[in-house]
């Protein structure tokens, strides 16, 4: 079996001439373009075959990512599957692709979620289906490009291009206020990304290259004030993307108005790009400023967790509630990243992966309910478990995972983050744990109000899960429980990255003047 897979990998490698990552990125994009171009022919036969083609393309991409994961060497800390070609000579920008463990897990997460999205949208989206799934396929390719770029301007190109299909998905297939939500999402994120572009342009000019690895060796030695300005620009971009609390107002609108698949992708993958950005750019390239702002970021994350949980408690729209819970969970991610120790970063990466699965699944569940009852108001639901026991069981798994119950992956991530934060400051740890309780409060209340109590009369005709819905939800549930029981499957590979980050930070701390630290951090490690 092993030999068979190895042979298959070699076959693929030779097929694409060693440019596996480029193929991984551009194959979905080209397929999406072709299918969009062909979709103008309205013949039904063509449409059905186009749908199958798109689904097959997405599955092929998922398969390709699993092959990459198999061939990946988990012992090495550097980038693998590297492709480097000179792109723009004058500024020394190269078309540079490469993945390490962090990118690998996020790429696999995004591939899984996009394939499931395409699969579920083929049935649930009735209007202009082929265009919809082609846009999701394009999104799949672009997101892989974001996670695989090792050149800062190439990263920016993919980072922005991701906005375009999402804008169309929200704007054409969205809810009542779709135009407002689509514009708000696009313009807000565009502003953040342009701040990133300014910082990136400065770094490209002053360091003379766009390569992240070379930037990592040059930019940390700039003086602290310049680093802080650059860090601030990057912060604006990623804080809007994650989103962190002062910049979070686009998320509830975008989630509520987007179609199901759009929300799944937005919550499951696009938010992780912000966390990935912090891990890939702010920490390694600007470590001095990261240490300087670490306390600021942790406090902001605590505010995010507590504030978002409390706001979620009083929502009457299910999707909005889950959107605010996303903000709360991403607060854990940023807290973990800026704990700047090994447990924190491990926890942050693990939480990113698990939160992608959890909120993706939650949005799928809501989509299933919406398809049957045509409303997202909590007051319209009651006693759904009577009619849909299977959904109730799966929804329970996802709710428990969102609460961070042990045996689910949500617990592992948050526990690691709490370990990391407690090492720094007991007060921060205490406040962050408060978020876990608040998280439990609104999720359990939501579940009780929707699933339990007596069945409402208008819900007596709804049917339990269809076959395709079972196929969409089950793998995620299995993965969540599996990761909860055996998190070592992922965390043993994260060790290398987080150790690298931590060592990098330690070196900067030892070489740097004292004014880099806030006085609060007693330095207990």
């Amino acid at each position: 079996m092993n030999l068979f897979i190895v042979n298959l990998c070699n076959f693929f490698n030779e097929l694409v001439g060693g440019a596996l990552l480029s193929c991984h990125i551009f194959f979905p994009i080209i397929c999406a373009f072709i299918s969009l171009a062909l979709s103008r022919y309205q013949r039904i036969q063509r449409s059905r075959s186009l749908k199958v083609v798109v689904l097959l393309a997405s599955l092929l991409n998922l398969f390709l990512s699993m092959l990459i994961a198999w061939q990946f060497d988990y012992e090495k800390g550097s980038f693998q599957f590297v492709e480097k070609q000179m792109w723009i000579m004058d500024y020394n920008l190269s078309y540079n692709l490469g993945i390490d463990v962090l990118s690998l897990y996020l790429i696999m997460l995004s591939n899984l979620l996009t394939t499931l999205c395409i699969f579920s949208s083929l049935r649930s989206v009735k209007n202009k289906t082929v265009e919809f799934v082609s846009l999701i396929l394009m999104l799949q390719g672009l997101i892989i490009g974001v996670f695989a770029s090792v050149d800062i301007i190439l990263f920016y190109v993919f980072f922005e291009s991701v906005l375009i299909p999402m804008f169309f998905i929200i704007g054409i297939w969205g809810g009542k206020n779709k135009v407002y939500a689509a514009f708000k999402f696009f313009l807000y994120t565009f502003l953040g990304s342009l701040c990133f572009l300014i910082a990136a342009a400065y770094m490209v000019i002053s360091a003379g290259t766009g390569d992240i690895i070379e930037l990592q060796s040059q930019v940390p030695f700039y003086d602290l004030e310049m680093q802080c300005w650059l860090w601030g620009a990057l912060f604006v971009a990623f804080a809007i993307k994650i989103p962190m609390v002062p910049f979070h107002t686009w998320l509830p609108d975008a989630h509520v108005q987007a179609p199901t698949a759009g929300s799944v992708l937005l919550a499951g993958v696009l938010l992780k790009i912000g966390g990935y950005g912090f891990l890939r750019f702010s920490l390694p390239i600007l470590p001095g400023a990261s240490i300087y702002f670490a306390d600021f970021m942790i406090i902001l994350s605590i505010i995010a967790v507590i504030y978002a949980s409390i706001v979620a408690l009083m929502q009457t729209d299910i999707k909005k509630m889950i959107a605010y819970s996303s903000i709360a969970h991403m607060g854990y991610v940023t807290a973990g990243i800026f704990a700047l120790n090994q447990q924190g970063i491990d926890g942050a990466i693990f939480t990113m992966v698990s939160h992608g699965l959890i909120s993706g699944a939650l949005f799928f569940c809501i989509g299933i309910l919406y398809e049957r009852v045509q409303t997202k108001e909590i007051s319209a639901y009651s006693g759904v478990a009577v009619k849909m026991p299977l959904l109730a069981m799966l929804f329970m798994v996802f709710t428990m995972a969102s609460i961070a119950l042990p045996l689910t992956s949500g617990f592992v991530g948050e526990f690691l983050v709490l370990c990391g934060i407690f090492k720094i400051n007991k007060l921060y740890g205490f406040l962050l744990s408060l978020g876990m309780i608040l998280g439990a409060s609104y999720m359990l209340w939501l579940y009780a109000r929707v699933m339990f109590y007596s069945l409402k009369p208008n819900l007596s005709k709804i049917r339990d899960l269809y076959f395709y819905e079972k196929i969409v939800l089950t793998p995620i549930a299995v993965l969540i429980v599996l990761l909860g029981i055996m998190p070592n499957f992922i965390t043993k590979n994260l060790y290398i990255i987080s150790k690298n980050f931590e060592d990098h930070i330690e070196i900067m701390k030892n070489n740097a003047p004292d004014k880099m630290y806030y006085k609060i951090r007693g330095g207990n490690n």
């Binding site: 723009i88 000579m89 922005e160 313009l187 300014i198 490209v204």
Partner: protein, 496 residues
């Protein structure tokens, strides 16, 4: 036959053979003006004849690209820089003029004079690009503008007359300011030649080593000339004519204004500022940057409330001119190179959008109102895709060409360490992004307002649209090549 003609010109031994393209086009236009009055076949197909002649002129220019720079008594200079820009000018003119076939579908008796007037205007533009002397530049500017005044005013609608009158009065005013400035310069330097004017400052520096004071009148002359050229490129605060003229003229002429006239005006500005006043850069840098900042502000804020697409595009033109002015005012090599890339991209995108608008104007129901476009994606897939690509490119969103143009400008700003300017540029980019997205929203998101008939787009136009769309989409692949090509000919501008 052409070679015979050129060799005959060479016998004059004053350099006239370099003017062969201009001579060819102007002779042809004069002859055509006569023939069209009598021969119906000529009248019907005038645009194809003009296009063929322009292709001939382009080939003449292409022949001369790698060779030694020529000149006519040093008052006209023909180097790589001017040749390449003349090629770009003529190519956009060919693209433009071939759209008459679409216009003729709705207006049977579209006058043949308009294309001929536009070709005279092109001759004037080419003259102005070549010239190395202020008075010859004036000749070119006038030859460029006067036919345009007439072309803009063509039409039965009162709006056309209004546009023509506004354009004429403001254009005449700018010409008057220009002449005033040139006459004052003549008073100081006894010559209107660029290099002699440029040497004047150097002589001043050499003569008075300490406590250099440039005569204030010289600076006033500089300001007057620059202001007059800013009128021509519609930089704020001299942009008032742009929305009305764009809206009022017929779309073919608007396309010409937006593409060819802008290229020529920007190149003339670059010639004047970078060759004649090159040592006074500290003086004109501030004016240019101020106008650039104002243009960005006016362009982004002004377009927010427009309902007419052509007015919206005029404000977006002002926005782009802001970027180009910023690029020109950076005195580094990369600054000017980014300006040139920007103008090339800008012209291509404008040709794309105006071509789509021209195609849409075949419908009786279409009145250039933005909400006429509602739900266009349902019925006109190619046009709506082309407009979408154009809008996303103009907004500066990767991976389209517009992003790279703006990226180069932003990096050249960062090279000069003008961080506040970079933040301002970014903020106005977001604001202008709103009205570009709004057009996409109207086309794709809104339900269909009323049926616009399916247009038949001629194959030639489809091919040209395809070329521009592919250029926009695939720019990321050729970004390096473009920079290399531009590097090659920009040396003639900087070193002269």
């Amino acid at each position: 036959m052409l070679a015979f003609f050129i060799s005959w010109l060479t016998t004059f031994s004053c350099g006239v053979e370099n003017l062969a393209p201009e001579i060819v086009i102007s002779l042809f236009s004069l002859v055509a003006l006569l023939f069209c009055c009598y021969i119906k076949f000529f009248r019907e197909n005038i645009c194809y004849f003009i296009a063929i002649i322009c292709v001939v002129a382009v080939s003449l220019l292409c022949n001369r690209i790698g060779s030694v720079p020529g000149s006519i008594g040093n008052v006209m200079v023909f180097n790589d820089f001017t040749n390449v820009f003349k090629i770009i000018l003529l190519s956009s003119f060919i693209f433009n003029i071939l759209h008459i076939s679409i216009v003729k579908k709705t207006q049977e008796n579209y006058p043949f004079e308009i294309p001929i007037l536009l070709s005279f205007s092109i001759v004037g533009m080419m003259f102005a690009i070549d010239s190395n002397d202020f008075l010859l530049l004036y000749l070119g500017l006038e030859l460029m503008s006067l036919p345009l005044y007439v072309a803009v005013a063509y039409g039965k609608d009162p709006k056309n007359n209004e546009a023509g009158l506004k354009f004429f009065i403001l254009g005449a005013l700018s010409s008057a300011l220009y002449l005033f400035g040139v006459s004052m310069i003549y008073g100081f330097t006894q010559s209107t030649h660029f290099s002699i004017v440029g040497d004047y400052y150097v002589d001043l520096v050499n003569a008075i080593e300490v406590d250099l004071k440039i005569p204030i009148a010289f600076l006033i002359a500089l300001v007057l000339i620059t202001v007059s050229l800013f009128f021509k490129i519609s930089a704020a605060p001299f942009h008032m004519w742009t929305p009305d003229v764009y809206q009022g003229s017929s779309t073919l002429v608007t396309m010409f204004l937006a593409s060819s006239s802008k290229i020529a005006a920007v190149v003339i500005l670059m010639n004047v500022l970078c060759i004649a006043f090159v040592d006074l850069i500290d003086q004109w840098k501030q004016i240019t940057m101020l106008c650039a900042v104002l243009s960005l502000l006016v362009g982004s804020l002004g377009g927010l409330f427009q309902k007419n697409i052509k007015r919206l595009l005029s404000y977006s033109a002002i926005n782009h001119i802001g970027f180009i002015l910023i690029a020109i005012s950076m005195d580094t090599f990369y600054g000017v190179a980014s300006g040139i890339i920007y103008i090339v991209f800008y012209v291509m995108v404008n040709l794309l959008i105006f071509s789509c608008i021209l195609n849409l104007e075949q419908n009786k129901n279409y009145h250039n109102n933005m909400f006429d476009l509602a739900g266009l994606a349902g019925s006109h897939k190619i046009l709506s895709f082309a407009i979408m690509i154009g809008m996303l490119s103009m907004a500066g969103i990767p991976p389209f060409a517009g992003f790279f143009a703006k990226f180069y400008v932003i990096t050249s700003i960062m090279q000069q360490e003008l961080y506040h300017l970079a933040i301002f540029v970014v903020a106005t980019s977001v604001v202008s992004c709103y009205y570009y997205l709004r057009i996409i929203k109207v086309i794709y998101f809104d339900p269909i307002n009323y049926e616009l008939d399916r247009n038949k787009i001629p194959v030639l136009i489809k091919l040209m649209l395809l070329f521009v769309v592919v250029f926009n989409l695939g720019y990321a692949l050729i970004a390096d090549q473009m920079f290399l090509i531009i590097e090659q000919f920009i040396h003639s501008l900087i070193s002269d």
